[in-house]
Symmetry: C2
Subunit: 216 residues, 2 copies
DNA sequence: CTGTAACCTGACCATACGGTCAGAAAATGA
DNA sequence: TCATTTTCTGACCGTATGGTCAGGTTACAG
């Protein structure tokens, strides 16, 4: 999504190109290192090595370790939020919630590092995204809870507590990223195959959709 | 349990008393600090302050930060394992799995720090308890999966994938500890009340038990 | 009381870390 | 070409951290 013509239109485009590419590389490396070592365990040197850049260069683009971390967490949060666009357009809980579970599991599969960074951030008391939790996430959650409640009122699903249903979906889907190492260990040390991921999606949806009486 | 027999028999009681009490205090402080700051973010000084002891005293009981951390993680693992004793004795899934969910939610409530340390350890690749995962946890898991499969075969519940059912239970119950801060934020910044915890248990059990066709 | 083992701790050390900076190099524009 | 802006980086610095240790204190057996 960031590909454009190799020929810069003007000077400005070229400059931002270098900057954007380097920031991308750094953020990608940082996401991985923060996920694997935690904020405290991560070092700028490690991130620099993984990005293939001198440490001082990182500080050229990101003033402090906190700044870099903050940016990583923000990026993840954005991905998270967009996962539930399917939620609203769906008319039926089986479809809406089913698609949401699929989307979230797909994120766990594609962005396991991001998921871990997010989990770590929240576990440590959300020092850098507390305001997001209190505003964006809270609003988002209330919106979805209302949507679920509407389905309940319309008799399209059993009268479950919408909040705890959401938590269960979050917990279960993110578990496959956050506890991926444990899951891999219990899978003979091998990552889940394409086929096994499909089995995950089917199992999770089967239990939850039946559990809320939305067998569609 | 690794000490030689040079300890005077009569003096033993008193001396081990001091040792045991101090180790307890240190481990308790360590669990909290490791949970809140992660292994890398935790400092021996912080743990010492929280325990009300000089830092050097910590090193008298635990040679290194890693040793202390290892002990904390091991303790948590023990608690975890004993949570499912109810599992085996139960005759039907509604009772067995229901009790297991209750037990695990109760652990999340009583030992949120331990849960976070465990989650953090696994998220970072289980550097110190990998052997436990490969032996004890794997055996344990296979035993429970077999028990669930037996229920399925006996027609006492729907034919769900036992592994993913277990993962869902783990994920959901531990979520209330690991993401407790987020849950609290979404609860107007207040911890869950006694009443709300009951609501959690009821909701989780309702969805999962209906989801696996074990309405007992 | 005395001797000894266990317990305690202030002061210290080596290292690793986040961050800085001066100045080189490269890109761009005129 | 030259001037200007942006990018890059080796060398360096102050601090915090894990860990050590010598020597003190306490508990208690004899």
């Amino acid at each position: 999504m960031n590909e454009n013509a190799r020929i810069p239109r003007n000077a400005k485009a070229k400059r931002t190109e270098i900057r954007r590419e380097n920031e991308r590389v750094i953020l990608e490396a940082a996401e991985k290192v923060f996920a694997e070592a935690g904020f405290g365990g991560a070092t700028m040197q490690l991130i620099a090595d993984m990005a293939g850049l001198p440490k001082a260069n990182l500080h050229y683009y990101f003033a402090t370790k906190e700044d870099l971390y903050r940016q990583v967490v923000r990026n993840i949060f954005e991905i998270w939020l967009h996962a539930a666009d399917t939620f609203d357009t769906a008319a039926d809980p089986a479809e809406g919630i089913g698609a949401y579970i699929d989307a979230k599991l797909e994120i766990s599969r594609r962005h396991p590092f991001g998921s871990k960074v997010w989990a770590s951030e929240v576990m440590h008391g959300a020092p850098v995204i507390q305001d997001y939790l209190e505003t964006t996430l809270r609003d988002w959650t209330e919106g979805r809870m209302a949507a679920i409640q509407r389905w309940v009122d319309e008799g399209k699903m059993a009268p479950v507590n919408p909040r705890h249903l959401l938590y269960m979906i979050w917990a279960t889907t993110q578990h496959y990223a956050d506890f991926g190492h444990q899951i891999e260990t219990l899978n003979a040390g091998k990552p889940l195959s394409e086929r096994q991921w499909r089995e995950v999606k089917d199992s999770v949806k089967a239990i939850i959709l039946r559990g809320i009486g939305a067998t569609g």
